[in-house]
Amino acid sequence: MLIRHPAEIAPSEITPRGVFERRREFLKTAAGTTLGLALQPMSEVFAAEKLAATTPSPFSTLEKPNSYKDVTTYNNFYEFGVEKTDPAEHAHTLKTKPWSVSVEGLVKQSKTFAIDDLIKLAPLEERVYRMRCVEGWSMVIPWLGLPLAALLKQVEPLGSAKFVEFITAADPKTMPGVSSRVLDWPYIEGLRLDEALHPLTILAVGLYGEVLPNQNGAPLRMVVPWKYGFKSGKSIVRIRLVEREPQTSWVKANAREYGFYSNVNPDVDHPRWSQASERRIGEFLKRKTLPFNGYADQVARLYAGMDLKKYY
């Protein structure tokens, strides 16, 4: 297994200046300055984590992350509309506090975690991951999160549990896109249990060292970097351990175009477009798409012996 040496400078430190300036506001807030205190109460929780300077993860890529602006203004989050700019415009209505996640199904003990408790299950790590969208574009994003395995360990999955189902928020009052029938709500995603337990799979709660903005799936979302972006469900409310492969939203929408596995694979084209290359946001020339989005060394063994053209 190839493990890259961690960067000497954490990517969170090569943040665009504007974001840095906003961080200082965070510190002020944490210090008890009245200014801005009411604006982002949750940031106090994370400001402490931020100051604790999470250790760089060996799983992080050394590639240059996309700007905070790119990551937070070009999103697919159909609960807020189908245009890339919709989530940034409309997601402010989502109430992310209080928020809790129930973990249930084939487990020894079902549990419900308040978000503030959940983030204490393991030290938050910065993970700079490539993100490849099924539409043919990609970004590099410095997430902040914890391994999903740390959460699953808490409920002790039973031997009969083979898959994990992720059910996300679908509140028509705060999520205007839910009133459209473009997908079957709530948005459901799923992983095989071994995929869910893989150390690359994280629950992200932050971005660029800050609390996750609503449009990126606040307060917590999946990040499965070797799969197309839609596999990483946003604003998760329920996690179920199940025996059978979950019926995910995109498979229900179009099983021929979107498979359950949806591993990034340049050799398996989308029926309507090629997946051989991708446009990294911010770049002019396209790049070749890598098998498993460049994480083959870590995850290819999960699919040993499987026909990836059949299990796309």
Binding site: V182, R279, F284, L285
Partner: protein, 225 residues
């Protein structure tokens, strides 16, 4: 014949109108240029440019197809004098759209482009629409009309109906899931083609009723729509 319509309002007024329309037709492109210069096209400007040029091609096609029904409804025969410019603006935008795809999107990777054209139905149909549009643009001048003759020119230019259908299908097939916008273009196109079919049918029946003994009229080419 449509292009022989006598223009009643003054020539000067028509010229002014044409100039104003010409400038108005450049606004979408100007806005795109402005947005590019001031970095207002979002995180993926290449996609934005390609999509915008594509949808403006469709808009110009639909506007061009609106001229003739509008003329029939209003009796403003001079509208026809603006149609060529609108059609050529549709062609202008599709050339830019195709250029954006070949250059910005694929960067002249001819192998990938050829694969796209052969394997991706939405690109196959889009490219077909472009190819079919080329002869229309090439014959959009008085000299060519004279050279090939009015009737044949008219028959040739009826392919605009197929081109518009191809264009909308091209859009429909490329969207990931939400077909609201392509559906909107499709509805407009159905209306524009529907009124033509309706009027043609009415005209045929009228001719049959009037000249029952001379039924050969049925096969005659009707007035340009």
């Amino acid at each position: 014949m449509g292009w022989h319509v006598v223009f009643n309002p003054t020539q000067r007024q028509l010229s002014a109108l044409k100039t104003a329309l010409f400038i108005a037709c450049l606004i979408p492109l100007a806005r795109l240029g402005w947005g590019l210069w001031y970095d207002q096209l979002g995180a993926n400007p290449i996609e934005f440019i390609t999509r915008s040029l594509g949808t403006w091609t469709l808009k110009f096609l639909l506007i061009t197809l609106t001229v003739s029904p509008l003329r029939k409804l209003t009796g403003w025969h001079w509208l026809l004098r603006l149609r060529r410019m609108l059609g050529l603006f549709a062609f202008f935008h599709v050339v830019l759209h195709l250029t954006a795809y070949l250059w910005l999107d694929q960067f002249f990777d001819w192998q990938a482009i050829l694969k796209d054209i052969l394997k991706r139905p939405f690109i196959t149909i889009g490219m077909s629409a472009f190819v079919l549009l080329v002869p229309l643009a090439a014959t959009s001048n008085q000299a060519m009309i004279r050279r090939i003759g009015g009737k044949r020119w008219q028959q040739l230019h009826r392919s605009i109906y197929v081109i518009a259908i191809f264009g909308v299908v091209h859009y429909w097939w490329l969207v990931k899931k939400d077909v609201t916008l392509p559906a909107l273009y499709a509805v407009l196109l159905v209306v524009l083609l529907g009124v033509r079919a309706l009027w043609r049918e009415q005209e045929r029946r009228r001719q049959l009723a009037v000249g029952a003994p001379m039924t050969q009229g049925r096969g005659k080419i009707t007035a340009p729509q």
